[in-house]
Symmetry: C2
Subunit: 106 residues, 2 copies
């Protein structure tokens, strides 16, 4: 899937993948660790991780026999780019983002 917008949005469209993102936002995890959070096999979790990786939202680093999964900071760029194109309609909520930004910037 060569379109970054499509692959990003696709990666976000599944609740399991969004939860994986939430978990990885707290700490990096191996595939086996991540599987412990869900009621499915490692193979299924690994498929989700592949989709997330294709979408640029995470990075998968091989370390010995383990596979470390981390959130990719710039991965959300295509999504935010697309969303910001329609600010004039959805800027209601952007107020909150603005606050978050100002908290971070200083």
């Amino acid at each position: 899937m060569p379109d970054p917008v499509q692959s990003s949005f696709r990666a976000l469209a599944d609740p399991t993948r969004r939860e994986i993102i939430a978990i990885l936002s707290k700490e990096q995890q191996t595939i086996a660790q991540l599987t412990g959070h869900f009621d499915m096999t490692r193979a299924a979790v690994k498929k989700h991780l592949t989709v997330l990786s294709d979408g640029g939202l995470i990075t998968m680093e091989q370390q010995g026999r383990e596979c470390i999964n981390r959130l990719s900071p710039g991965g959300m760029k295509p999504v935010l780019d697309w969303l910001s194109y329609f600010d004039q309609f959805w800027n209601t909520r952007l107020e909150n983002l603005k606050e978050a930004i100002e908290r971070n910037d200083t």
Copy 2:
């Protein structure tokens, strides 16, 4: 689909639906008008519109024998809420949103 986050993200996951959003951001359209923009049947376009409506991203108003489709201003709220939860990782791109907001706010 009772989960607003899921139905919103699902609605955004298809390129045709995102293009519909782009079109509707310029002007409201009937189903027949929208169909003119794509290489598919009215039935297919209507299905996409139903998904977008389920996701709260558009409103469909019956007007005589026509069906007027409009962008729903607050529809992106669940998406932006979810995204803003991970600001600390993706705030790189939030800079641009900030600029867009400041252009609109005055």
